[in-house]
């Protein structure tokens, strides 16, 4: 899974702490997701998608083989 978190944060001028506050998670969780060390739960993914106003699948991108 790839994420566009870093790119979207840069677009919206948010640092990890600010995104963490908006998505009601810890900064550590944002950092883990960006480093692909943790796959977020559905609720966290939805909250992050809401912050960026983007569909979930445009933020968390799975390779075809991961989905089949």
């Amino acid at each position: 899974m790839k994420t566009r978190l870093k790119e979207l944060r840069a677009r919206d001028g948010l640092n990890q702490t600010e995104l963490a506050k908006k998505a009601k998670v810890s900064r550590q969780t944002i950092s883990l997701i960006e480093r692909n060390e943790y796959m977020p739960s559905l609720i966290i993914a939805v909250r992050i998608a809401k912050v960026f106003q983007e569909p979930i699948e445009d933020i968390f991108i799975f390779a075809e083989e991961e989905l089949s």
Partner: protein, 225 residues
């Protein structure tokens, strides 16, 4: 900062005392004083990291360096927690060993170990200012809350719980093997030294059983209501 200066003063005074009367004391006493001084050093380093983390979290840095800066502050906050944990462990061991060996000849040294154990125990409780560095949305439960532990745990989000789980699983394996190895070492020690460690082996055995059973019990599916 005041606390750091206070610890530094005690450390210097303790080192001077250790050096001045080193030859007048037996090895056990000198060793216990050295351990007490190590505890103070750990508490000093913890305080230093806490001060740096709190001060650093108030500094404004450039946007490009912000994430790395925050991660650095978080590392300092965790380093402080590690130093406090080391201090508490050392002080606890020093108190127990000191009580066995020196309670009659040098009760003052044992009392200092006990006081250091109490200080490091209370330092273990996380300060809200420090937690805010690692988790800005964290809300400390009320200290008098009946479900304090559960409420405290629930404050961590899924990502943090995932990191905790990975760490705890490693510790579970380490403790399991550590207890087995320790029990065997004590068995050989008992046989070859004639100094029976049966009580310790029984204690380790009970702890081993408790760790294994509780872990497996937590994996067992619950009965449907």
């Amino acid at each position: 900062m005041k606390l750091f200066v206070f610890y530094t003063g005690i450390l210097i005074y303790g080192l001077y005392g250790l050096k001045a009367s080193f030859n007048d004391r037996v090895m056990d006493e000198n060793l216990l004083i050295a351990v007490n001084l190590s505890v103070i050093l750990c508490l000093m380093l913890a305080r230093l990291n806490i001060n740096k983390a709190v001060r650093g979290s108030k500094i404004e840095v450039e946007i490009e360096k912000e994430d790395e800066h925050l991660a650095e502050m978080e590392r300092k906050a965790y380093s402080a927690a590690i130093y406090i944990q080391v201090a508490f462990s050392l002080a606890t061991i020093a108190t127990l060993v000191g009580f066995i060996l020196l309670r009659e000849s040098q009760p003052k040294i044992v009392l200092v170990s006990f006081l250091l154990m109490a200080v490091s125990f209370f330092s273990l409780f996380p300060n809200e200012n420090i937690i805010k560095i690692t988790n800005p949305t964290f809300k400390m439960p009320h200290p008098k809350s009946k479900n304090y532990q559960q409420q405290y745990f629930d404050q961590f989000d899924d990502g943090e719980k995932y990191v905790m789980l990975k760490g705890l699983y490693k510790i579970y394996s380490l403790i399991t093997w550590g207890l087995i190895i320790l029990a065997f070492i004590l068995m050989y020690y008992s046989v070859f030294s004639g100094n029976s460690q049966i009580m310790s082996i029984i204690g380790i055995g009970l702890l081993f059983m408790l760790v294994q059973v509780s872990f497996t019990q937590s994996l067992k599916p619950h009965k449907a209501d």
